[in-house]
Amino acid sequence: MTDTVTEQRLLSPEEVTRAQRMIDKLVDGLGRAILGQQELLDLVTICLLARGHMLLEGLPGLGKTELVKSLSALLGLGFRRVQFTPDLLPGDIVGSPILQDADGSRKLVFHKGPIFANLLLADEINRATPKTQSALLEAMQERRVTVMGETHELPQPFFVLATQNPIELEGTYPLPEAQLDRFTFKINVYGVSSDTLQQIISQRQHGHPPALSEVLTHEEMEHLFDAVDSVHLPEAVANYIARLVNATHPDSSDAPEECRKYVRYGASPRAAIALAGTARAAALLAGKPNVGFDEVRRVAVSVLGHRLVLDYSARLEGWTQVRMVERLVDAVPEVGRPVPQDVEV
């Protein structure tokens, strides 16, 4: 995948409608598997369309794993699940060379690990050691793995969907910042309402989701990816994204007072790229050929939240990463120049 700046053609209304129809099929399918989590499903879809990796954080039993499995079924992609444990080794994920007899001679043959799949579910990723966690670094960023000097390309598309539990932190290894930065989205999964809960226990006697069939082919997915890339990002919105990401740095002039006080490290340029990409996907999801300020605001918390390193005093004052991003979104104006006070826009 290469990034080249070319004269962009605006998607036609028909192309947008067609893309939206395909996306709707995917979202509807997910909605049949996961009840009452529309916002979560939209975000997952957005992250998927932006070809990003996502980290789902939530209490056990909220349907995180089920969501990923449903996604795999709906997309018809190769799916692997790895349950991360403290004794898991990097080789257990990326694969390892094994000595084999072949034509009377012995040689090391690389046996691919579970990472060689389109959709990798890294369940409870924070239970593995940092060494094992870091095995995913190259795969997530460059979509390839290197073992004993040999580089192996991963199948396309490649998504890592990791889950982690915010409780039972004993014996876990918090993800390092470099690892977190590679996740496009970190989505907090919350519980559902009592109505949804009633619907679940009425329709799922044993908790099994309905059987899902493939709704998008590989070609259709590629088409969707191309459509997302064709979504226009206006200069003013790009400027807004740049200022928003810049404002996460405490030494920035755009940073609000709370950010200067409580944030130790801000978001990286990778975050800005992810923000633009996911905003494009959100625009296509909304049936638009362009990104608006609303799309940026919609994905800002999921993109920037886990990339901020807060000061210890932030915890004392009750500032979470999500709250800090919400504050940033409020503080940074859409247009860099202040509107004159004598003018009501």
Binding site: Q8, R9, L10, S12, P13, H232, P234, E235, A236, V237, A283, A286, K288, P289, N290, V291, G292, F293, D294, E295, E334, V335, G336, R337, V339, P340, Q341, D342, V343, E344, V345
Partner: protein, 459 residues
């Protein structure tokens, strides 16, 4: 240019105008505060610059132009204007997109109703502008109505009483020098004392010690003058008696009396020779330089043995000494006919008390007696004086008869019906003898007259 571009241009112009208003508000606020402060300072410290200082108000025009000029530097770009208009329209970024990448298919997705575009244009709020400007404007207008402060026209003269006292002493010393009454040593001592007193009273007021010093110096000079005056008068008398004795008019004088008179005469002449007052008349009297030196050293001067020469010298001496005695008498303030020849005041006991220094309050504990002259101290400026003297126009209205009510070529026609009644005419007629209480005061004077009579009644 499409309709969309026109709306964007209108949006941009309004933003630019809003920026100009904001900048103008900032500049004008500062300017008005500065202007008001300047007016206030001028009114309180340099009232002669009022009302010329109001010309500074013309600076509002260049300040406004400057605000317009500076507002151009940070103006909204077209892209920013489009972004704001997009948000106001609720176009979700489509307007921005179509501005950058025009597409006819999506053009129809923009609002098509003109009213929607119009409502999306920014609205100028002059209320805030006017409200913010009201405070500095009120301050400036208020400063213009602050009353002018009166400045002391004349410089404050410091320590006038001290200067006057030392000046009088100096004049007196000069008069004594001119009369050659004082010895050189005594003269220098008095001059030093007066100069020292002048220095001390230049910046500080006269204290009672200094008043006593002034009086002591004055008394000391008067005593010198009196002593010299009496001595010269006695010598003149002795010379006259000796001259008459020579003529035989005074009868026979005993030898002792003659020796005594001669001794008095010689002693006076010696003193006069020491002071230098004798040198002027010595030539007339035929006294040589060696005679004068001998007088000054040993007080010996032999009168000529020849009766004729002796008589002639005594006559000249008598005339000269009488002349000197008259001068000193005049300087002392001798009385003649009950009046002081010097100051013209009435004499008491054959002497002018004022010239003799015996005036009331002449110093020490006696100064300040009820009948003493007022010794005015330092003058103060009229800063903070509540009541200021103002020159009012003449209190009486002009005589109506002196007013020219018109010019005619012939005799004016007077209609008795419309003319002034006789009583009214008489009221204003000085010849009627009632003008002293019938004259009409101007309204501005009535208050002052009323206050005068009210205060008189209350007392």
């Amino acid at each position: 240019m499409t309709a969309r571009d026109r709306w964007i241009d209108r949006h941009l112009r309004r933003l630019h105008f809003g920026q100009f208003l904001q900048r103008a508000l900032e500049w004008l606020t500062v300017y008005l505060f500065c202007f008001g402060t300047t007016v206030l300072v001028v009114k309180l410290t340099a009232p002669n610059l009022w009302p010329h200082v109001l010309w500074v108000g013309a600076g509002a025009v260049p300040v406004t132009i400057l605000a317009w000029w500076t507002s151009r530097t940070g103006q909204f770009t077209r892209g920013e204007s489009v972004a704001l208009l997009d948000r106001s329209l609720g176009a979700g970024g489509l307007l921005m997109t179509l501005t950058e990448a025009p597409d006819e298919d999506w053009e129809t997705h923009l609002p098509q109703v003109e009213q929607r575009w119009r409502e999306s244009l920014p609205r100028i709020r002059p209320k805030r502008f006017a409200g913010t400007l009201a405070l500095p404007l009120s301050f400036t207008i208020g400063a213009c109505f602050v009353p002018l402060r009166e400045i002391a026209a004349n410089p404050v003269v410091k320590n006038t009483a001290g200067q006057q006292a030392t000046s009088e002493l100096e004049n007196m010393l000069e008069a004594l020098e001119e009369a050659q009454v004082l010895e050189e040593k005594e003269e220098q001592t008095l001059r030093d004392a007066i100069e020292k007193l002048q220095e001390e009273t230049a910046d500080s007021p006269l204290t009672h010690e200094k008043w006593e010093t002034v009086d002591a110096l004055e008394q000391r000079m008067r005593m010198q003058l009196e002593e010299a005056s009496v001595g010269v008068a006695q010598a003149a008398q002795a010379a006259a008696i000796l001259a008459k004795a020579g003529d035989g008019e005074a009868g026979e004088l005993s030898a002792e009396r003659m020796a005594e008179l001669e001794s008095d005469l010689i002693e006076t002449l010696r003193k006069m020779a020491e002071n230098g007052s004798l040198s002027a008349g010595a030539g007339k009297m035929g006294l040589s330089k060696s005679d004068l030196e001998r007088l000054m050293k040993s007080g010996q001067l032999g009168l000529p043995k020849d009766p004729k020469e002796r008589q002639e010298l005594l006559n000249e001496l008598s005339d000269f000494l009488q002349e000197e005695a008259d001068k000193l008498s005049e300087l002392r303030g001798e009385c003649e006919g009950g009046q002081c020849q010097n100051c013209g005041q009435e004499c008491e006991g054959g002497q002018c008390q004022a010239c003799a220094g015996n005036k009331p309050g002449r110093g020490g504990v006696t100064r300040g007696r009820g009948d003493a002259e007022m010794a005015w101290g330092d003058e103060s400026d009229d800063t903070g004086i509540k009541f200021k003297e103002t020159v009012l126009p003449p209190g009486m209205q002009e005589d109506p008869k002196e007013e020219i009510i018109g010019l005619t070529k012939s005799e004016p026609e007077v209609d008795p019906a419309t003319g002034i009644s006789r009583q009214a005419a008489r009221a204003d007629d000085p010849a009627a003898g009632r003008e002293t209480w019938n004259r009409k005061l101007r309204p501005r004077h009535r208050g002052a007259v009323r206050r005068f009579f009210d205060s008189a009644e209350s007392e």
